[in-house]
Each structure stands twice: as structure tokens, then as C-alpha cells.
Symmetry: C2
């Protein structure tokens, strides 16, 4: 069995499993806000986890807010920035056209319900956001821009965006830059400080921590406004008894991931080899974002004229689990919004499967996927030609 | 070691530990929204958990929304009801004076930021909400009441509120009734249907499920508006990849709890025996809410003239972990807001400790706590008399 849907959700990391099995035996279990020793032990372990997370992500401890995941982080950040931006004359949200549906839906909510205007940044055919438009739009009316939101790496294509350029433009114009780093953290070494990003988010389940965990990074935490009010936890920024067990697993998983960063180059090399071989043997194959900088662990691949879902099912029959686009839009039989934004047509859009592995995956994974994928293509080519 | 801070947070239930250790070995781990078999298996297990939860709580499956905990539930419900109540002329929130800080802070946020008016229901000296005031206020201007929020059982005192009466009044006047059932679910058999409540909430960590889990129950889910927007999960009511592992543990823990409901009477009897014995031996002792219907698992006890924190430390030195008030206000050296609302004075307020056990606790727990508490009182009486 090869699980190749890490961009959808990563399996629980082996180190996290081991950590939890031990933790279940020894405890402690308590409310981290309680005054007794058990509570204080839990609190200390959680703050230690925060320190590990901060270090792993190049952030300060007070920039790390634990929450339930990237989508909560997204809603918190939009609320924080847009709660009063309009009344200060900042009415425009600039968003890339390839954002995850969580970001897109949230931005649309603010345009439909709160009167914001949304400007969508175009991307190249390889899925890279065109920064010159950002520059142009900001120059036209910098005082009107409420926020810029561009993701770090795309969930479907794995294409890495020009973060540093975007953060420099935003910073020079004092415009908050929210970057969805959900597919980036845990796959690429990341320094929040060096990135210049104002707000970043991720979900623990994307890199092997427990489901229902997440991190919000804020350059200046005083700019945050909670959407979950509650009893003052996370210094008043996120109410509710802290998910201390979950937060500990975030630290464990990020530590394991950091140890695996050495594998990135080798994986990237093997991935390119796999893609090249497939393309050479199947001229109808198209690799999305091929020429762009991409995560070493993602291949988004289409066979023109063969439906992605057929390929997915064929791979599944060989014990390889992939998706057609993102998990959230997997059931839509149409070309994904990301591919449409990249200007790709339906013959490619309907043929895609997303193959995404993790830094903990075996280095042989791409050879195995090659074997399975070519078998699938061979079979489906035959059926097609009847 | 006796852990007696279940109202703060319950230890992970033994059945949940066992379940997770097995689950970690077998998997599957996947995004429940993915189309492949692993994703579908995860989805089915999660929906099965929803069905178990619904059955355990006397609700329909489509009334159960999984989230990250009671505080998130609270913010979601306030947002759902109050987003447009004011513009429909419904400007008053009626809340009890003994609500948990999460509810209180959220209600205050709406009065301070959105122009709502807050009316606080008084309670008897035993901590029971005075329903006649609710009746009176609603009769005065039923069309002005946006919502009523009264908890099911108080987190400090364990006093159970007249839910049925309140829900009937609200229902007759078509006023949404939000009931914080966080301290009730998992401690008392509960039927959402029979309760007549419109919205209920709880956190999994209060009854032995994983931290970071929660349930929102809504009589009519179409009245809900999400605060976490995201990609349409939980039928559009709570965005973000579902915490499927956590949600499974909610079902496991509630199943275990249901099996232990038979212990309630015995625990209640032993609790009364313990309280009576302590009172007989220490005339300065005051049991808060003594005459009210209370959870079988909570004793809120004051020794006039001896500081609660001193008692808590003495108990801790004997391996018994209790808190002085609730976990969230444990560090405040003043009489808790709940006790103030009940009209209790500082000589009691400063002397309290909260002893809270769970339905999985040993039936001998109250005998052991009696031994430890009398030792603590003896020692502190001596010190006091110097």
C-alpha cells in the first residue's frame, strides 16, 4: 500500500504514535489552566511545545497561537484584518486565483456580506502568481488595499509562490500580508521571520500531528481579534481549554519533519526522474506547473483524454491512494478552480490526478508509483481505443 | 493519587486510550473528504461516531455538529442568533448570573460591541436560577428578547438548573434557548430531544475524549451560521478538515460513560455521606448549593476562615488534586463570580475548594477524600490557632 495523498492529509507520524502511546501510560491529564501540579505540568509541556514549534518555524514564542487548524486560522485572520478595515477606507482584498477553497470562500463571504471588493491576481500557465499585477494594483491606490492573501505552495500543483517578493511589496506599503502556508510548512524549511509574512497558518494533520490541531503565526499578535472568545486562553486570542495533547503532537511532528529535510533534494530528483520517464513513454501526459518551483513531494499529472477518476481508481486497485484534485473538491467532476485560474482547459483538467507524498515517505516511492501509473495508463489506453 | 478535578478536565478515558493505541496500529489515516477508499473509510467511521453520539444524547444525526469544543460552540451559537437579531428588534440577551466565563465573556462582547442589552437572571443562595424573573421579563416584552442562555449544571457548584421549565417558557415565546451543557453531558443521562433546548454544547475533554474535541447540538441546524467558514465541511456549518480521530474518541467516551450511569446513585449517596460527616466534624464547613439538585460528582466546600488555596495545597501534598474555583479563574484570589451571583460572602468565597470526580472514578473515592480533607483541615486549624 502506498498512501500518496499527503496534501489531503498526512498519516499520523510514527514518532507521534510512539509519543502518544507512552503519554497515555504516564499522563498527566489536566486542565492547563488549573492551579494544581498536574495542571501546571500540562501547561509547562504545552509551553515547551510552543517553544519547539516557534524554533522549528523561525518565529518567536509569542507569535505562535495554537488553534484547531488552518481553516480556523484563516477565519481568525480575515476577521482580525477586515473587522474595521472598511470604515478606515480600506475596501479591497487582493487574493490569488489559486487559493484553497477555505481562503476563497472566506474572501467571498466578506465581499458578499461586508461590502469588500475582491481583486484576483492572475497566475502564469505554470501556476505562479503574477507579482507585477500586485505591484500595479497597489501603486494605483495603496490606501485602499485592506489585505493581500497569497498561498505559499498550492495544494493541488505544489507550485511555490514568490513569497519574499510579495511580502516586500506589502511591507513597503504597510498592507497586511496573509499567507496560507498549510502546504508549505512541514514540506520545506520555513522561517516565519525571514519570510516577512504578517500572518501564516497550518494544520497539524498535514504533517503528521493529530487531526484537529493547528497553528496561527502572527508577526504582531496584538493585531489579532478572536473569533472564539471564551475564557482568555492563548492570551485572550483563542478561547477554550487548550488542546494540549494535540499541541504536543504538533511539536513532535515538526521535530521529526525537520530531521527529514535532508531528504528533500533526493526526493525532488527522483520525482523529476519519474515525471520525465512517464512523459517520455506517454506523450499525452501533461505535468502541471512543471517548469515552476514546486514541492519535492507533489506531482499533478494529467493524461489528456483519460478521466482522472479512472486513473485514480486504477491506481487504487493497485493499492496506491491518490486524489483527482484537492480533497475538498474531489467530488466535483469539473476542472478545478486552480487549474481554471491557470488557464488550463478541460482536456487537461479532467485528466488530472494529484500524487502527493511526504518527507517521511520511502525514497523508493516514486519508482513504485511509476510502475503502477504506467500500468494504469496502459490499461486505460487500451479501453479508450476500443 | 486521586484526581478530583474532572470539572476542569477529565483524564483520558481508559477505553479511549485502548481504542487509540489499536487505531494507531491499524489506521486508516486520510482526509475524510477524499474520494479514495482510505478517505471513505475514515468518513464512514466518523459518521458512525456521529450516529453513536446522536443516540447517546437523544439527538438526530443531523443535529450533531462536531467542532473543537464548547467555547467554539458558544461563539458559533451567539453569532448565529445575534448576527441579525438586533435589526429585527430583538435587543435583549437574558443570561444567568452563574454562567461560565466563556458564555459571560461572549455575552459581554455582544453588549460592548454590537449594542445588545444584557439582563442577568438572579439565583437563589443555593445557586438555582430564579425562573420567575425569566417569566416576568419575557412577559414584559417577549418580542425584544433575542436569546436566553442558562447552563445545565454549574461548573463550580455542580447545581443542576431547571432546564425543562426554562425550555418550555422559551419555546412558548419562540425565543432561542441556548444551554451550556458542558458540565452536564457525561455526568447525567441527557436527551436533547426531551430537554427542549434549542442549542447545546460540550467539550470532549470533560468526559474522557481527546482534548480539542467538541459537540454542538442544534434543534434546527439551518439556523446556524459558521464562524469558521472554510471548505463546506459539516454541511457548511463548520469549515476545516474534520478532526476524525478526535470525533471517534467522543463516541468511545460517551459509550463508556453511558455504561457508568448506573453508578450515579451510589456516588451521590457516598458524596452526601462524605459531606455530612465533614460538616458534623467541622462546624465551620459550608457546602455550597447543598440543598439544590446537584451532580453526584461535585462537592464545592468552604471552611470559613481558612483560605481555599491552603486547603488545595494540603490536599495536593497528600496526592489529591482539586481546584479552588474553576480552572479558568483559579488564579484569581477573590470570591468567584458564581459565588458572588449566589450572594455568598468572602468568608465562604475565599475558603472554597472544588472536589469533582467522574463516573469512572472508584466508588471509594469519597472515603479517601474524607480522610485527606479532614487531615488538611486539622492541620490548617492548628496553624490558624497560633
Amino acid at each position: 500500500m502506498i498512501y500518496a495523498d499527503y496534501n489531503g492529509s498526512a498519516p499520523l507520524c510514527e514518532d507521534v504514535k510512539e509519543y502518544l502511546v507512552n503519554r497515555f501510560q504516564t499522563g498527566p491529564f489536566a486542565n492547563p489552566n488549573a492551579i494544581h501540579h498536574q495542571g501546571q505540568q500540562v501547561l509547562m509541556a504545552m509551553e515547551n511545545s510552543r517553544s519547539v514549534v516557534a524554533k522549528a518555524l523561525g518565529a518567536k514564542m509569542n507569535q505562535v497561537i495554537f488553534n484547531s487548524g488552518a481553516t480556523e486560522g484563516c477565519s481568525t485572520i480575515f476577521h482580525s484584518i477586515l473587522d474595521d478595515a472598511l470604515e478606515n477606507g480600506r475596501s479591497t482584498i487582493i487574493m490569488s486565483g489559486i487559493e484553497h477553497s477555505a481562503i476563497r470562500n472566506t474572501a467571498n463571504w466578506y465581499t458578499e456580506n461586508k461590502g469588500y471588493e475582491l481583486k484576483t491576481l492572475p497566475t502564469t500557465r505554470d501556476g505562479i502568481v503574477e507579482v507585477e499585477f500586485l505591484n500595479k494594483w497597489i501603486k494605483e491606490a495603496p490606501e485602499k488595499i485592506a489585505m493581500v492573501t497569497v498561498m505559499a505552495a498550492n495544494n493541488e500543483t505544489g507550485v511555490i509562490q514568490p513569497l519574499k517578493q510579495i511580502s516586500e511589496i506589502c511591507s513597503a506599503n504597510k498592507i497586511p500580508f496573509f499567507c496560507d502556508t498549510t502546504q508549505y510548512i512541514g514540506k520545506v524549511p520555513f522561517s516565519f521571520k525571514d519570510s516577512g509574512i504578517d500572518y501564516a497558518i497550518t494544520s497539524g494533520h498535514k504533517f503528521g500531528a493529530l487531526t484537529g490541531t493547528g497553528i496561527l503565526l502572527a508577526k504582531d499578535r496584538t493585531t489579532l481579534k478572536p473569533i472564539i472568545i471564551g475564557g482568555g486562553q492563548e492570551k485572550g486570542l483563542r478561547g477554550g481549554t487548550q488542546n494540549y495533547i494535540g499541541n504536543e503532537t504538533v511539536a513532535v511532528a515538526l521535530t521529526t519533519i525537520s530531521k527529514n529535510f535532508g531528504k528533500i533534494e533526493e526526493l525532488a530528483r527522483k520525482r523529476i526522474k519519474f515525471e520525465t520517464k512517464i512523459k517520455n513513454n506517454y506523450p499525452s501526459v501533461y505535468i502541471i506547473g512543471e517548469k515552476a518551483p514546486r514541492l519535492a513531494t507533489t506531482t499533478y499529472i494529467a493524461y489528456r483524454g483519460i478521466h482522472g477518476q479512472a486513473v485514480q481508481i486504477e491506481l487504487e486497485s493497485q493499492g496506491i491512494f491518490v486524489t483527482t484534485s484537492s480533497a475538498c473538491s474531489d467530488n466535483e467532476p469539473v476542472t478545478s478552480k486552480v487549474l481554471k485560474a491557470m488557464g488550463l482547459t478541460d482536456d487537461i483538467g479532467r485528466g488530472v490526478v494529484r500524487i502527493s507524498v511526504g518527507l517521511c515517505s520511502s525514497l523508493e516511492v516514486y519508482e513504485q508509483i511509476y510502475e503502477a501509473l504506467s500500468k494504469a495508463y496502459d490499461k486505460l489506453e487500451q479501453i479508450k481505443s476500443y
